[in-house]
Amino acid sequence: MGKISNQHLIEKLTAKYGEQISAISEPYGLLTFEATRTVISDLLAFLKNDEELKFNFLTDITAIHYPEKENALGVIYHLHSFYNNVRIRIKVFIPVSDPTIPTATVLWDGANWMERETFDFFGIQFIGHPDLRRILNVDDMTVFPMRREYPLEDPNRVDKKDYFFGR
């Protein structure tokens, strides 16, 4: 679909960032890789401003929680280059004990609410965000409900236990 092949993107990014980029894969043709927290600001700015790549559109910011991993919280960026019609997905994994990451609001105004939503549900602190408050949940909520340890329903409920369904 795009004018730039994923192979070319990988070469260009590994040449610049080397070890800082890992776990490169292409699920369903969408280039996905992990980056470290130290380079993410620089990486996003590079992707946005590079003359050839021009990932000018921030599609989405969200997060994911893998409690069993050491760096349990993952922040996931979806970028889109309108010029080349290519999408890219970047993940940054950070520990629950120190859930901080630089903000992307300096690059895209639209990152503001996306980061607020991510903070609201996963408790990720975006350093440098102009107004990091809860957005969808009530202000006096103390937990971050999309983390895996918070169950959807009342945990004392027994009628929906797996063994009733042979699982």
Binding site: M1, P27, Y28, L30, T32, N56, F57, L58, T59, D60, T62, I64, H65, I76, H78, F82, N85, R87, R89, W108, D109, G110, A111, N112, W113, M114, E117, F121, P130, D131, I135, L136, N137, V138, P145, M146, L152, E153, F165, G166, R167
Partner: protein, 411 residues
């Protein structure tokens, strides 16, 4: 004509106390206000009729869909997507089905794709009808709305014929549709595309060159393409600024590449441009539906779903009489089908922008994580900053023309 908004003040709450003469008024616009269609709260600082600053409060109808989705099998998530943008829920349903099909590598027959295109374009028309009709009402012209609503009713009757429901449709299944379009459906669609153009023409005649309407809307909420893209706008409001981004063309799904249609773009991105653009999109949707009806004629009859027994629920009468169907029914409902452990992002062009589904699957019965990229949520964040400096009545029609749907805003 007012100037483009090229710089926007940071989106910060401004409950200002340093107003020495006490001339600013704090106005709570919403959460339930007759002029805002849905649950929107904006706390505005007003200097007379003019808005000095504002802050949006959202989340009044937050229903934790992403959390619920982590506990539901794929086919039950469709009902959640209904309740995002409820003005065009078939697009959401189809978008979700296509996401799962992409994950499972299911190839749908062409006839299914064309049926989907018909349903999606009909709901796009319904969505734009509501938006433009209401915009007319908010500018004080009630009659256009009354002309159009009858046509929306006809679209809902088509949906009713296809799936039995009108608003929250739960239309289609993973792999295709739950049943074939019957003869009455085709008759109703044909009747609609015959009867709708004169009515849309009449609606355009009421508004397009209407001096009162033009003076009321042109120059209101004009946005430059740079700012719009920086705010991650998508859909008609982005195209009204002059950016020709449409998911149907950039990343065709459901065989949109087989169709001949145009993507209208605006120039100034103001309320008037958005209005004209939505009207034009309705004409293009009609074109697509006509082509789809022609194409369906050439496809083998009676094909309405892909041959994927592991994911497509068998008909009920077979479940009771056929061993194989019973096994598959059991496997699907109990979630014992193997699914790939991977992640997928799929986007469709919703009624008001790029509706994306980011699905992370761990091979279990339910998604490990499902995130909806909701265009209303992302488009709405510019509303408060862009309102400052506007007249209150302009801010109202600006909100109407952004086509923000509360269900999608709050998920």
């Amino acid at each position: 004509m007012s100037n483009f908004i090229t710089e926007i003040t940071p989106n910060r709450p401004v409950y200002t106390d340093n107003d020495p003469q006490g001339e600013l008024t704090t106005l709570n616009l919403g959460p339930t206000h007759p002029a805002t269609h849905g649950v929107f709260q904006n706390v505005l600082q007003m200097d007379g009729e003019r808005i000095v600053s504002g802050v949006s409060t959202i989340g009044y109808i937050h229903r934790a869909f992403e959390k619920i989705a982590e506990h539901r099998p794929f086919y039950q998530i469709t009902t959640l997507t209904d309740r995002l943008n409820y003005c065009s829920s078939p697009i959401n349903n189809m978008g979700w089905h296509m996401t799962v099909e992409k994950l499972l590598d299911i190839k749908t027959p062409k006839r299914v794709d064309y049926m989907r295109v018909i349903v999606m374009e009909l709901s796009r028309i319904a969505d734009h009808l509501i938006c433009n009709g209401i915009l007319g009402v908010d500018t004080g012209a009630f009659s256009g709305f009354l002309y159009l609503m009858e046509e929306r009713e006809h679209i809902y009757e088509i949906f009713e014929e296809v799936c039995g429901a009108r608003l929250t449709t739960n239309i289609g299944r993973i792999g295709g549709f739950e049943r074939d379009f019957n003869e009455i459906t085709f008759q109703k669609i044909k009747k609609f595309i015959k009867n709708f153009p004169p009515i849309l023409k009449e609606f355009e005649a009421l508004f397009n060159r209407n001096r009162i309407f033009i003076e009321r809307t042109s120059g209101v909420g004009a946005v430059s393409p740079e700012v719009a893209m920086s705010y991650s706008w998508s859909g008609p409001i982005l195209r009204a600024t002059g950016v020709d981004y449409d998911v149907r063309v950039n990343e065709p799904y459901a065989s949109y590449q087989d169709f001949d249609f145009e993507i209208p773009v605006g120039t100034t991105g103001d309320v008037y441009d958005r209005f004209i653009l939505r009207n034009e999109e309705m004409w293009q949707s009609l074109r697509i539906i006509e082509q789809a009806l022609e194409k369906i004629e050439k496809e083998p009859k009676g094909v309405f779903h892909a041959d994927v027994p592991e994911f497509y629920l068998p008909p009920k009468e077979q479940v009771y009489n056929n061993m194989e169907a019973l096994i598959y029914h059991f496997k699907i409902v109990m979630g014992e089908v193997e699914t790939p452990k991977t992640e997928v992002y799929h986007a469709v062009e919703g009624g008001n922008g790029e509706l994306g589904f980011y699905l992370v699957n761990d091979g279990g019965r339910t998604p490990y994580r499902l995130h909806f990229r909701r265009p209303s949520f992302i488009n709405y964040q510019m509303y408060a900053p862009m309102s400052s400096g506007m007249l209150l009545s302009d801010a109202i029609i600006n909100m109407s023309s952004l086509n923000i749907i509360a269900g999608e805003l709050d998920a």
